[in-house]
């Protein structure tokens, strides 16, 4: 049953991608599918895709799992990395050192933030909603306090800028990294003991408990991974925009959840596929670019995302009924 459901979701998402692409070409002309626009869309996918993968991981673990702190932690990692390096490493003299230490510090911040979320959810026993709501404010608050609320410009740092904006062999580097990370995550979830235990934990916590699955350690690792994913998103954002600020992507919390729900990840836990998250992220990105081409206001875009989220929640309801009802 699960295979059929998954294939259905997968083919549905593939069709959605094609449909959006066709609609875009019909509405705006072939400019939409020239190499430049395709590359620019591809380089915009990773930041949201990575955050959505984090949301998927948290949802998989069940028990109302969700990570609301993703974009806040992404911004914080960028801000901290920039502030540490601003006075220690000159981006002009040693751009490569700057870039690698930027990535290293950002990842360390993401790891620390993820560990904090992990401890709160697994050991302190907080509900994921409350824990990540609190840390969302906390991370944002620290980023505001550190920067006094203003955006910080990185300036042009060649390797970092290349990573964000220059394609290699036609593929933007940050998109390639996103696909690589998604692939790794997919393999881990599908084939490793950790992935199988995580899905079991999400679909039936009681059975998982009696099967001897270490619940606390699983949750801790899951939320730590979410934090690391968020910091990778932070690096991508810094590379693409050449700046770090505390309020970048204010509606990303919604959009990351929307991507996960569109991908068929069950908010109650236990089910979700990485490939579906990728396809759902690309479909959403193409839709967003289409809105750009048609000069549609940001306000209407938020409206459309909200409607889409509700529609997909409704659609998943119908799917589940159709597939689960015959068993009873």
């Amino acid at each position: 049953m699960k295979g059929a459901l998954a294939d259905r979701q997968l083919s549905f998402l593939a069709l959605t991608n094609v449909a959006v692409l066709l609609a875009a070409v019909l509405l705006t002309g072939s400019g939409f599918i020239d190499l430049y626009n395709l590359q620019s869309m591809a380089s915009q996918v990773p930041e949201l895709g990575l955050l959505a993968l984090g949301v998927m991981l948290a949802m998989l673990s069940g028990n109302g799992g969700i990570d609301l702190s993703g974009i806040a932690l992404a911004n914080l990692s960028g801000v901290v990395a920039y502030l540490v390096l601003r006075d220690t490493v000159s981006a002009d003299d040693a751009p490569l050192v700057f870039t690698w230490s930027f990535a290293g510090i950002a990842l360390a911040v993401g790891l620390a933030g993820g560990v904090l979320n992990g401890i709160l959810v697994s050991h302190a026993g907080l509900t994921p909603i409350i824990a990540t709501l609190g840390t969302q404010l906390f991370f944002t608050g620290i980023a505001v306090a550190l920067t006094n609320g203003s955006a910080q410009t990185l300036g042009y740092v060649e390797p970092l800028d290349d990573f964000g904006n220059t394609p290699v062999l036609g593929v933007p580097q940050c998109f390639a990294l996103f696909i690589l990370i998604a692939l790794l995550l997919g393999i881990v979830l599908r084939f490793s003991g950790f992935g199988i235990r995580l899905r079991l934990l999400g679909s039936n916590p009681k059975a998982a408990h009696y099967a001897g699955i270490p619940r606390r350690r699983m949750l801790f690792l899951t939320y730590t991974a979410c934090g690391v994913l968020a910091s990778v998103a932070g690096i991508v954002i810094a590379a693409r925009t050449s700046s770090v600020k505390w309020d970048y992507g204010s509606s990303y919390v919604l959009i990351a959840i929307l991507i996960a729900v569109m991908a068929g990840v069950r908010p109650e836990g236990g089910y979700g596929r990485v490939i579906c998250v990728i396809l759902s992220a690309t479909a959403l990105q193409m839709l967003s670019s289409l809105f750009n081409f048609m000069d549609i206001s940001n306000f209407f875009r938020d409206f459309a995302w909200g409607v889409l989220l509700l529609l997909f929640l409704a659609a998943s309801q119908i799917d589940l009924r159709a597939w689960i009802a015959p068993r009873h």
Partner: protein, 343 residues
């Protein structure tokens, strides 16, 4: 949402006084919040004596009204085991459209009609939330994140984005109506606006509803355990629709209070204050998993958050740190109260 309310830890008589005291505190979370309030007041007051002024007290009360109305709505939703983050969007849509309606078509609209319209509009939008939560069977947080964007997007796309600087006369008069007028020793006049009474009435009605009516029992029962409540004969759909409609109703009133006290209607206002409000309710002792929470505790939580927002500046803590402090409060309160769930 599916957590079952577990039994509270029962302290045995042999345990030390400290343990008993901490267990007592954990069973009475509002006391914890009260202690924090007293501490903040004492510390701020000793560093900056300006804190002990009637005008400051009035400012805190005035600033608590809108947040307090929101918080009562969130309390009722939380008690039923749900979570609502769309109330600020409802308030913004209601306040802006009612102000627009009154300004453009009926400038002389009395405040009673304005309030009735806002109440009705807010309740209708809230009921929509409730129906969606019930029908989609998805976590209410995710559903209301969706409706929040739909409502705000609708407001800014289809209703309007321009400020209303000249609000209807009846609203302006209502906002200026003074309950207490106090003349400071130095001659400055500070007033306590009459609309704080709206919060008092809302708090009393909410308390009565939660503690003295069948729907109040039903809300706590559904929050404690939906499946048991359903077997007891409570209709989950009625409770879902009722709590979200109630939260929407209070949000509609809160929107009008916001316009009346600021004397302008800005459609971009109120966005992003959801987390403050949820923090206040959690600090007041309501569990996110439902089945608990009290009106008194919630009001204490609101006062604490308002204190953090208003008076930290008096002692030289930069306003940029407010977010981090409130986030820390949520995490601490959540951690402290989650101990209650342990067997």
């Amino acid at each position: 949402m599916t957590d079952i309310a577990t039994t509270q830890p029962v302290p045995s008589t042999e345990r030390s006084a400290f343990l008993r005291a901490s267990y007592w505190l954990l069973r009475h979370p509002p006391v914890f919040t009260l202690i924090l309030i007293v501490l903040v007041c004492l510390v701020v007051g000793s560093i900056n004596p300006d804190f002990w002024q009637v005008s400051n007290l009035f400012d805190i009360l005035r600033a608590s009204v809108v947040r307090g109305l929101f918080a009562l709505g969130v309390l009722v939703v939380l008690a039923s085991g749900g979570l609502d983050v769309s109330f600020t969007a409802i308030a913004a849509l209601v306040m802006y459209s009612v102000t627009m309606l009154a300004t453009n078509w009926m400038p002389g609209m009395p405040i009673a009609v304005i309030l009735a319209l806002a109440t009705f509009g807010g309740a209708a939008l809230g009921a929509m939330n409730g129906i969606l939560v019930d029908r989609l069977r998805a976590p209410s947080l995710i559903v209301t994140i969706g409706t929040q964007y739909v409502i705000r997007g609708f407001l800014l796309t289809f209703v309007g984005t321009a400020l209303f600087m000249n609000i209807p006369g009846s609203m302006e008069a209502f906002g200026k109506l003074a309950l207490i007028r106090y003349v400071e020793p130095n001659g400055a006049i500070s007033t306590l606006p009459a609309f704080v009474l709206v919060l008092a009435v809302a708090a009393a009605v909410t308390w009565w509803m939660l503690e003295r009516t069948l729907i109040g029992r039903a809300i706590y029962a559904v929050g404690g355990s939906p499946s048991v409540a359903e077997r007891l004969g409570f209709s989950l759909r009625t409770v879902h629709v009722f709590v979200f409609a109630y939260a929407g109703l209070l949000a509609g009133i809160a929107g009008i209070m916001h316009v009346a006290s600021n004397r302008l209607a800005n459609p971009f206002d109120l966005a992003g204050t959801e987390l403050d409000v949820i923090a206040a309710v959690i600090l007041g002792g309501a569990r996110i998993t439902g089945g608990s929470g009290s009106v008194g505790g919630t009001l204490l939580g609101v006062v604490l958050i308002t204190l953090v927002n208003n008076v930290l500046i008096l002692v030289g803590i930069p306003t940029t740190l407010q977010l981090a402090i409130i986030g820390g409060f949520i995490v601490l309160a959540g951690a402290a109260f989650s101990i209650r769930r342990r067997p």
